[in-house]
Amino acid sequence: MNFDLSVLWENIAELFRDGGWKMPVMWIIGGVLIFLAIKKEMEPTLLLPMGFGAILVNLPNSGAREVIDHLFEIGINSHELFPLILFIGIGAMIDFEPLLTNPKLMLFGAAAQFGIFFTLCAASLIGFDIKDAASIAIIGAADGPTSIFVANMLNSNYTAAIMVAAYSYMALVPVVQPPIIKLCTTKKERMIRMDYKGRKVSKLTKILFPIVVTVIVGLVAPDAVALIGFLMFGNLIRECGVLNSLSETAQKVLANLITIFLGITIASRMTANEFLKWETIVIIALGLVAFTFDTFAGIMLAKFMNLFTKKKINPMIGAAGISVFPMSARVVHKLGLEADNQNFLLMHSIGVNVSGQVASVIAGGLLLAFVQAVL
């Protein structure tokens, strides 16, 4: 192999040309993502490939850009293949039993999608056009594949910033949610205990649930039925009882494989010119707005329901309606124990959490349907 020194000088000179300084800035950003993934263990499966990919595509005259662009084209841009396949794995990981024993919990999952629609209004108000505003708002779904799917379907100009914000906030749920929950609830409310009656759910119910949910969502939001369909297909593999090896493969091998490709593919949109904009900071701020109002709305619905119910609901469980599974359920459980060391909320918050997973996908589908209708 010939080593041509002129190539080295040419590439170094590239860094000093107009806008060349942005590339080293992207290396630093990539380094920060890798640091957060390794040192702080924040969503390492995605932040690490994204961080490395950010460095890779921002090298002067990078030969990797073409390959990663091609991955983006076939894996995300053409038919959102990667996020959808990842959903099969996620579906296979989710146990809907806590939700099926107490279906009312699903209302909290629905309420906790308010942040998405509120952020849509906020983003439109400050000047983003409707498709970008909707793509930013979907950060509030707190669900990476849904965010990628919606942002890409709407052909957003800010896909990379949206991905980084979505995955960062998902990792930061234990930091972001507690202060909001404490702000919205009194200690007395946080101490409310809830009985859990473990009831066995029949296999038939578990099998019919993914099929019927797919049909219902498919009828209401046909454009986004792929999202819920793939999630529920994964769950059906898990629950049918005759495809255990497929279920295990979907949960582990398939999900891991796609995650590797997804992270590095998203990095194709992290080129300096696309990423280093003021809008990126605004998008990250709007992501926080979305998470805040998701949490707020879930809690407020629980408080509202307490006005009419005899058995009081601990309002904190509403906060688990954002779909970050199982982190936000754990946050709620921990805060319950903090207020009263005998207050075990895990089963309730897990139920709300899985319902949030389903509701966020439904919200994504509805958002797509309504926004595409006005475009």
């Binding site: 699903m106 999608q113 629609f117 000047g127 038939l204 309504f370 926004v371």
Partner: protein, 171 residues
């Protein structure tokens, strides 16, 4: 009594979701526009909302844009500033209809109508109405769908429990 209330709730939810479904369908429907090139017969597909450009699904080289005047909707050349059919200006602001596009922004209302890679942050209360409507429809839609799913689970749980009980009674 409880069963009766439950069945009324289920019925109401089904009716509401049917309404939501029909509303989605109506909004989503778009009139097909066919390629004006003779003997082509392809369908013109949207490429981007900003440029109003469309291309033929049979031959992507057949590219046009749709007249900005919604009542006209005729296909015109990509570079044309005025529609040869109705004469409508193709450079008027699509938002206010009065001003002209000065590079990126409308000269009358100041709204950003083209991409220049830079975003102009300003409060746009005009766009708020549209997104507020999506907020209302979205939250209503999500509660309807969730309600239908809850009703389904409740009915299913009841049916399964009844079957189990009847089997136990037979034994």
């Amino acid at each position: 009594m409880k069963k009766r209330i439950l069945s009324i709730v289920v019925l109401a939810l089904i009716v509401l979701s049917a309404f939501a479904l029909s509303a989605c369908g109506k909004n989503g429907e778009k009139e097909k526009i066919y390629c004006p090139v003779e003997n082509c017969g392809g369908e013109l597909l949207d490429t981007s909302a900003e440029s109003n450009a469309v291309y033929c699904d049979k031959n992507p080289l057949h590219m046009y844009k749709i007249c900005a005047n919604e009542e006209c909707g005729d296909t015109i050349g990509l570079g044309d500033a005025y529609c040869p059919d109705c004469g409508a200006s193709q450079v008027a602001c699509p938002e206010c209809g009065d001003g002209e596009i000065d590079g990126v922004y409308c000269t009358s209302c100041g709204r950003q109508v083209q991409k220049d890679g830079k975003m102009k942050f300003k409060l746009d209360f005009g766009a708020l109405g549209e997104s507020a409507m999506i907020l209302c429809k979205g939250m209503l839609g999500i509660f309807i769908v969730t309600g239908v799913i809850i009703a389904f689970i409740l009915v299913l749980n009841t049916v399964v429990e009844k079957i189990r009980q009847s089997k136990e009674n037979k034994k």
